[in-house]
């Protein structure tokens, strides 16, 4: 959501919670299950939703994958996107909106094309995540194409402070790498290839530089562009000598 641009929504002190002030628009019709006769759904989206529905004994289980598919298709879970999912799944749009708004990764407001989730939970914060978030927001300079959000623990405290850039985990990100990172995102390039989680060996924070393009998953670019940027000793975590590590990689 736009209000989440730089913050997990935390309305602890103030009294404004989005949505609470909204009345129903009495000129609209009630939102019932959209009729297939009047709700066009793009064929590829329909096919994807139907393939998800087929995986479960109860097709309602596909609501999250279906909403995620619609989000990929429309950029966010817009009312139109939700109506299309509702039509294919024979659910009400309200039901699906309720589900979408429960989950942090389903966007119920328009957002930028690229998502940059910066973990600001305890472990990352202890390593300077709050500054990293601020630096990224600064560097982005209000580019509406970037959806920058502080996020709860992303499960990568070993590379703190870290961010998930369109699903690719990078870290530890030093403040002076932020400019490069944002430029790479804007240019559609792979973010900080040297900092990507993919090729890290277990428990070796210093071995963050991968041996080469990794083969894990679909998130990595076919070719990591250029040699990894040299890492200056700027990381908020005090780096240690590698040979102090207790274990050797087998």
């Amino acid at each position: 959501m736009s209000s989440r641009r730089s913050e997990v929504p935390r309305f602890g002190h103030g009294s404004r919670v989005p949505g609470w002030d909204d009345a129903a628009d009495l000129r609209k019709d009630p939102a019932v299950v959209p009729d297939a006769a009047t709700t066009p759904v793009p064929a590829d989206l329909r096919a994807e939703i139907e393939s998800h529905m087929a995986k479960y004994p109860d097709h309602r289980s596909a609501s999250i994958p279906a909403l995620a598919a619609a989000q990929r298709h429309h950029g966010w879970c817009s009312p139109e996107a939700i109506e299309q999912v509702a039509c294919v799944m024979a659910l009400t749009p309200g039901y699906l909106f309720s589900v979408a708004s429960f989950y942090d990764m389903l966007e119920t407001h328009p957002v930028g094309r690229h998502s940059i989730f910066v973990c600001t939970n305890i472990s990352c914060s202890l390593c300077g995540a709050d500054d990293l978030l601020a630096a990224i927001v600064d560097a982005a300079d209000g580019d509406p194409d970037l959806n920058i959000r502080s996020f709860e623990c992303l499960g990568a405290c070993d590379i703190a402070p870290m961010a998930s850039v369109d699903g690719v985990y990078v870290g530890p990100v030093a403040l002076d790498e932020v400019g490069t990172l944002v430029a790479q995102i804007k240019a559609g390039e792979a973010p900080l290839p040297a900092r990507q989680l993919g090729g890290r060996a277990v428990a070796e924070p210093l071995a963050a530089i991968p041996k080469g393009p990794t083969t894990y998953g679909g998130q990595m670019p076919e070719e990591a562009p250029g040699p990894p940027a040299p890492v200056e000793q700027q990381s908020p975590i005090p780096l240690q000598d590698a040979d102090q590590s207790e274990e050797g990689a087998t």
Partner: protein, 850 residues
């Protein structure tokens, strides 16, 4: 599924031994020992407890953590403590937490004085708050719909309303948005929450977050009185409590009756009380003078009416309908038969099967009850759309499917709102119900050879029929569902619409239905049987009171013997032929052409329609149900009592009194020598009831006291044995005529929505729901005719046509269109783009061309 058996156990609550049904939730079981455990989110009507509010925490010996009393089933020997320091602390904590967010604006809150949050804060709260942070403040109240206002500050997130929308009415429109402390109750993208049962959430809300727009700020609990009665706006006859202030009905609440409504109301029943007090209501008698209806005295109006009836004698006809009480029906047929001397009495404008078949269909052994719908093995919904025709029953069917896995088959011409819940939904051509039941009967009886032909007569397929029999027999769809039932009889309820047995072939359809019942061996089976959805709200009661052309009270042989009587269906012809000249309409509606054909029209009505304004000779003001006393009979045979909640408006008089006066007057006219000849000896409402109970053998011995607030199901009484015996089949069935050939045209099906009827149109709050004329059609049919969603079209044939807006529905079978109208008869129709018109796009249905 069959009802669970109940075992009683003994447990201890606060040192008291209490006997309670095993597995009852502690909250309910404790009540049996006079111990109250406070609750917010718990509402057994909503299904499984959710344990969200945590208000009901109690201590149970042997369990270290406090437990929620709302979700803990009581067991034998359980020891429960609700008064310990620990419990008290927890309860105070929950109240404190709930009030953290609550504005405490009780002085300006509609709920004040009848608010569970107030009561529980007082009874179980600590009486103090340590919360000093700023409270949240929002705009309030906001419209959630034209009927409901929402105040999100007050909401304590007990989820009752949302659970209702999702698990009871299953409209899934009301939702929770966001999560955590930011969670709020909302709808999709600002759409209003408009659904047939939406108003129930107002009653469910335990705080003042959801309030009724029409009731807001109209009264405080100490200004009002509650009056229990029965809603007679549809055959469901829900039990209601009318909130009355200064002789005005301001609100309608449910008066929970598990045998009738399960504690819910539809929005028509909840909000149409407004029509009681509108200016449009007729409150004085009127007589046509100089071509116009003018108010006159009662004496004058009664004289005119009695004079006309007396003069016409056997050329007069009497038609009753709507919510007329049993007493009115009984007196009405006496008026006709004894005083006026005419046999032409009916309560079914659409006709129906003869006395024998009516008796067979209504036989006590074959009657299912409303709760049976919830516990049956299978339910067949036949030729009715419950949500339109008898709304509350729609919720009962959903409940059975959801909670007890009742298997559901739906067989209707028009796509049904229950399709999504049904194991099998089949469509047949409009008007082909008779062929459908014949085909079903053939398939159940194993008369395979005939099935093909019958199925195609019905405009359906053998596959579809096999699906239905599979559900009824409890066999998986497709698996040899034909043949005799080896599994033995099952609890099956057939909910059928009276429309099935209307019309000229009504008797044949009734025989088909009886065959189906016989083949399924429903007769005499507890928990199984037929449940009719009559067209008129008190259709069953009126028939039993003797308002039938071929039967007297209790479906006895008619007093006029062999004398041929004209029934409701033939009435227009009778008038056109001149066999009839005078028409007495008692809360019944007929079309303008029929009225025009009558020389004299005497109408007892609450609202003046255009047709009455043009053709009525005498108009007698009718009571609203809020003013009535008497009894009505529920479709499952429950005789229920109406009690007046308010004084009669203006010059309105009780129906029984008007009828008694008319009888006396007509009688005196008929026999001037004996002025007391027609005196029916009815001087009070209870006297009318007593006469009715004496005249209808199966009601014998009933008293108003016995009916009380809950009613009595007569088929369960001993006196039910007095019901006339009738042949219940199986009958040999003829092959019914197939669906009308459409020859490139479309087949028309008609229906009547829940929002039809004068009470909705005359209630300001509900007026927005009055249906606009729409024609529902399949996308392919629309494309062929070059029309699309939202287009204005004419629907009709040979001159008779109406204007409507196209609504495309994927589920409408090709070749068929559906229009909500009484103005067109089923048959082939043409749909054409209407020439663009100036002014409002479509007339109101009330004014639709006829």
């Amino acid at each position: 599924m069959p009802r669970p058996e109940i075992h009683m156990i003994t447990f201890t609550v606060d040192g008291r031994e209490v006997r309670a049904p095993e597995n009852a939730m502690l909250v309910d079981a404790a009540k049996l020992g006079d111990v109250e455990i406070p609750v917010f989110c718990y509402e057994p009507k909503l299904g499984q407890p959710v344990g969200a509010c945590r208000m009901c925490l109690v201590e149970i010996e042997g369990i270290p953590k406090l437990q929620t009393g709302c979700s803990t089933p009581v067991k034998d020997g359980m020891v429960v403590i609700t008064q310990s320091e620990r419990v008290k602390e927890a309860q105070e904590a929950i109240v404190e937490f709930l009030l953290v967010n609550h504005p405490l604006d009780c002085p300006v809150c509609d709920k004040g004085g009848e608010c569970p949050l107030q009561d529980i804060s007082f009874g179980w709260g600590g009486g103090r708050s340590r919360f000093i942070e700023p409270k949240r403040h929002f705009e309030k109240p906001l419209a959630l719909s034209p009927l409901i206002a929402i105040d999100r500050e007050r909401c304590i997130l007990c989820y009752r309303c949302v659970r209702f929308s999702q698990e009871i009415s299953e409209d899934y429109q009301l939702i929770l948005a966001e999560r955590s402390a930011d969670t709020y109750v909302s709808t999709f993208d600002g759409h209003p929450y408009v659904a047939p049962f939406s108003g129930n959430i107002i009653e469910l809300c335990p705080v003042g977050a959801l309030t009724s727009q029409p009731y807001r700020f109209r009264a405080r609990p100490w200004d009002i009185e509650g009056a229990g009665s029965v809603c007679t706006l549809c055959p469901a006859q829900c039990n209601v409590e009318l909130t009355v202030r200064d002789e005005r009905v301001l609100r309608v609440l449910a008066r929970q009756h598990p045998g009738v409504d399960d504690g819910w109301l539809c929005d028509k029943g909840r909000f149409a009380y407004q029509s009681v007090h509108v200016d449009e209501r007729i409150t004085r008698p009127m007589v046509r003078e100089g071509g116009e209806l003018r108010p006159v005295s009662w004496e004058r109006a009664l004289d005119e009416a009695a004079g006309a009836l007396g003069r016409a004698g056997a050329q007069s006809a009497v038609l009753a309908g709507g919510g007329a009480t049993n007493e009115e029906g009984y007196l009405l047929q006496r008026l006709a038969r004894e005083a006026v001397g005419t046999p032409h009495v009916d309560s079914r404008a659409g006709g129906g099967p003869g006395r024998e078949l009516a008796a067979a269909l209504g036989a006590p052994a074959l009657q299912a009850t409303v709760p049976d719908l919830e516990h049956a093995h299978a339910v067949l919904v036949l030729e009715t759309e419950p949500v339109d025709d008898m709304p509350i029953v729609d919720l009962r069917i959903r409940k059975g499917v959801r909670r007890n896995r009742v298997r559901l088959a739906v067989a209707t011409p028009r796509p049904s709102s229950l399709d999504r819940n049904a194991d099998v939904s089949v469509r047949y051509a409009p008007g082909c119900g008779e062929a459908f039941v014949a085909a079903l009967s053939a398939m159940l009886g194993g008369e395979g050879k005939n099935v093909d032909e019958l199925a195609s007569s019905a405009g359906t397929t053998v596959e579809a029929l096999r699906g239905v029999t599979g559900v009824l027999r409890g066999v998986e769809v497709g698996e040899g569902a034909t043949g005799s039932d080896e599994a033995g009889p099952r609890d099956i309820v057939i909910l059928w619409g009276e429309r099935l047995t209307q019309g000229r072939r009504g008797a044949a359809a009734a025989r088909g239905l009886l065959n189906v019942a016989a083949r399924l061996r429903l007769g005499g089976r507890e928990g199984a049987g037929l449940l009719e959805v009559p067209v008129a709200a008190n259709g069953r009661g009126l028939r039993e009171a003797g308002v039938l052309h071929d039967a007297g009270p209790g479906l006895s042989e008619p007093p006029h013997g062999e004398m041929a009587a004209i029934d409701g269906l033939e009435l227009p012809d009778g008038l056109a032929r001149g066999d009839l000249t005078t028409l007495l309409l008692w809360d019944a509606e007929v079309d303008a052409a029929t009225l025009a054909a009558a020389g004299t029209v005497i109408a007892h009505a609450a609202f003046l329609t255009d047709a009455l304004r043009a053709h009525a000779t005498v108009v007698l003001p009718a009571e609203s149900y809020a003013e009535k006393e008497g009894t009505v009979t529920h479709p499952d045979g429950r005789v229920q009592r109406l009690r007046p909640a308010i004084g009669r408006q203006g010059g309105v008089r009780p129906g029984w009194q008007v009828l008694a006066d008319l009888m006396a007057r007509v009688g005196a006219t008929q026999d001037p020598a004996d002025p007391g000849a027609g005196d029916p000896r009815v001087l009070t409402g209870p006297m009318a009831s007593r006469q009715l109970f004496e005249a209808v053998p199966v009601y014998a011995g009933l008293t108003l006291e016995e009916l009380g607030g809950r009613g009595v199901r007569w088929p369960a009484r001993e006196q039910a044995a007095a019901w006339p015996r009738a042949d219940a089949g199986p009958f040999g069935l003829e092959v019914p005529p197939g669906p009308v050939k459409a020859n490139g045209d479309l087949r028309l099906g008609t229906f009547r929505s829940i929002w039809a009827g004068p009470e909705v149109g005359h209630s300001p709050a509900l007026r927005f729901l009055v249906p606009k004329p729409r024609v529902e059609m399949a996308p392919a049919d629309a494309q062929r005719r070059n029309v699309t969603q939202g287009d204005h079209v004419t629907v009709g044939h040979n001159g008779a046509a109406l204007h409507a807006t196209v609504v495309l529905r994927d589920a409408v079978p090709r070749g068929t269109v559906f229009v909500e109208t009484d103005a067109l008869r089923a048959g082939p129709v043409d749909v054409r783009k209407a020439p663009p018109r100036a002014g409002p796009p479509a007339p109101d249905p009330a004014e639709a061309p006829s």
